[in-house]
Amino acid sequence: MSGLTLTPRGAFDARVDFAGVLPGVADVARLPIGYGGCRIALGELFEVAGADDGRVTIEGGSALLDSVGAGLADGEIVVKGDVGAGLGRGMTGGMISVKGSAGAYAGSEITGGKIAIGGDVGERLAAAGDASRRGMSGGVIVVGGSAGSRAAERLRGGVVMIEGDAGEGAATDLIAGTLVVAGRLGPNAGRGMKRGTLLLRSADGLSSGFSEAGEHDLVMLRVLARRSHEIATFLGAGVTKAQRYAGDLYSGGKGEALIVPR
């Protein structure tokens, strides 16, 4: 299965709006995409090869390549490089994998599907976009590198896994869902958190509205580990105990941070 392959004809001079370029779209070469302030045919920027079988591969990416996979419902998009802002924005299903890094608002407001990013991501991973009060509500995001500020802001469902560090203000106003940070947590994390779970290596970085509730053997961890490959990887074999912090108590929140040292 090779699918459709899009190879950039050269470096981009302006931001490229890739919204609408999805598996199953007819006549991709003539599909209008945003380029700077105007719209041009995709074929002018990319060489199109192969046939669409539900998989689109972008050979080589760019930090200027915005909204890749926005609204994806099924099928697969593979980017063999970096992408810009809004990766997978609003996607409902399917799979996106990016070998390089992604810009701001990666996975913003997705409701399903899976996004895997090999490198780092910019600010507001999985967060609520403009004019929205809710961020990602379902699906899975795995970031191989580190995330910028406000990762999982207003998250309300799904699992976000950051294998590296999270920037300042992670999980701000988080509504529900799970954020896993395997590296270091930036300052002021979880401020305004309503419900939801943070899985962390250390409590350093949690905002001051979190309060410790002791170490517990939680049956729930055993269940999550069996239902989420990402959480299982984070916990490691046989781990069933975690230090529980509740927060953000300053805003009446009932969220939790579970600390599982390596």
Partner: protein, 298 residues
């Protein structure tokens, strides 16, 4: 039909549609998982008086349970969906939620959803926590011991209730011994439960009664002490009859279970005092499922 000296009568068990569900109950130890399972399936022998029929289906090994702890699968059947929706949360709430270290999970998918955590969460008085991971929602209810974890709901299936056979033997001990052998074999069949005490019912019933308001009464045609006073189905050498009732998730499951039980009884043979195998029915007009003994044993 005679097998190992035992007559297989030309009769059939008449069974009814029931709606059922499976739950997986786990605990820190196999012992406590079984205690929770037994408790929640207690007083559930017959829908007539208990509102549901329930029993332990099997022990579930750690490798198969949702939380990796020792588990027990139970099946619960009711006459209709609303009945099931009422008894399941009630029984879990009283018997599993309260049982040390327990957790309760869906044991089947599909069909109408039967609430577990969806109904029980209110016990936590606002402190309940829901987590949706891998497409399934679990609830965590803080309790004095720690947390009670359960799935949001479980599926349901249209099953079969009231499969049965009768063991006609030459003495009370021989009838019971044969019934025990049958139960042991039948418990190995998945998808079925034997809701009566130890899987055996000594007081099989007929429909109706001379008394108003009694839906069922003693099956005098099989009562050995009444053979001088009523019409009897018992040969002269039979002194005791035991019945085994089977509820299952499908016709095939009940048929397989029936077969396993009768085979175990037949293996004992006429030598061990088993005279005949019969089955309870109502003439075939009430229940849509007929388990014909001779076809099953053919």
């Amino acid at each position: 039909m005679i097998l190992n000296g035992v007559e297989i009568r030309d009769s059939f068990a008449e069974a009814f549609p029931m709606i059922g569900t499976r739950l997986i109950i786990t605990a820190d130890t196999a012992k406590w998982a079984m205690i929770a399972a037994k408790t929640m399936t207690g007083f559930a022998t017959s829908v007539i008086g208990c509102g549901c029929e329930a029993g332990v289906e099997r022990v579930v090994p750690e490798s198969e349970t949702p939380d990796g702890r020792p588990g027990v699968a139970v099946l619960i059947f009711a006459m209709d969906l609303n009945g099931l929706k009422a008894v399941v949360p009630n029984r879990i709430g009283q018997c599993v939620l309260t049982s040390p270290t327990s957790a309760c999970y869906a044991g089947m998918e599909g069909g109408d959803a039967i609430s577990i955590g969806k109904a029980l969460k209110y016990f936590a008085d606002g402190w309940q926590i829901s987590k949706m991971v891998g497409g399934k929602r679990i609830w965590r209810l803080p309790v004095m011991e720690g947390e009670f974890v359960c799935d949001h709901d479980t599926g349901s299936v249209s099953g079969v209730g009231g499969g049965n056979f009768l063991i006609l033997a030459t003495s009370r001990l021989e009838a019971l011994t044969a019934a025990e052998a049958a139960v042991e074999a039948m418990q190995k069949v998945e998808g079925c439960i034997l809701p009566f005490p130890g899987g055996v019912v000594r007081s099989g019933s007929k429909v109706g009664s001379k008394y108003k308001g009694m839906f069922a009464s003693t099956n005098n045609f099989y009562c050995p002490t009444l053979r001088a006073q009523t019409e009897t189905k018992l040969p002269p050498e039979v002194a005791s009859v035991q019945e085994i009732v089977i509820d299952g998730v499908s016709f095939d499951a009940v048929a397989a279970c029936t077969k396993a039980g009768i085979e175990a009884v037949v293996a004992l043979g006429r030598e061990k005092g088993v005279v005949a195998i019969d089955a309870g029915n109502y003439g075939g007009n009430l229940g849509p499922f007929h388990f014909k003994l001779r076809e099953i044993m053919a």
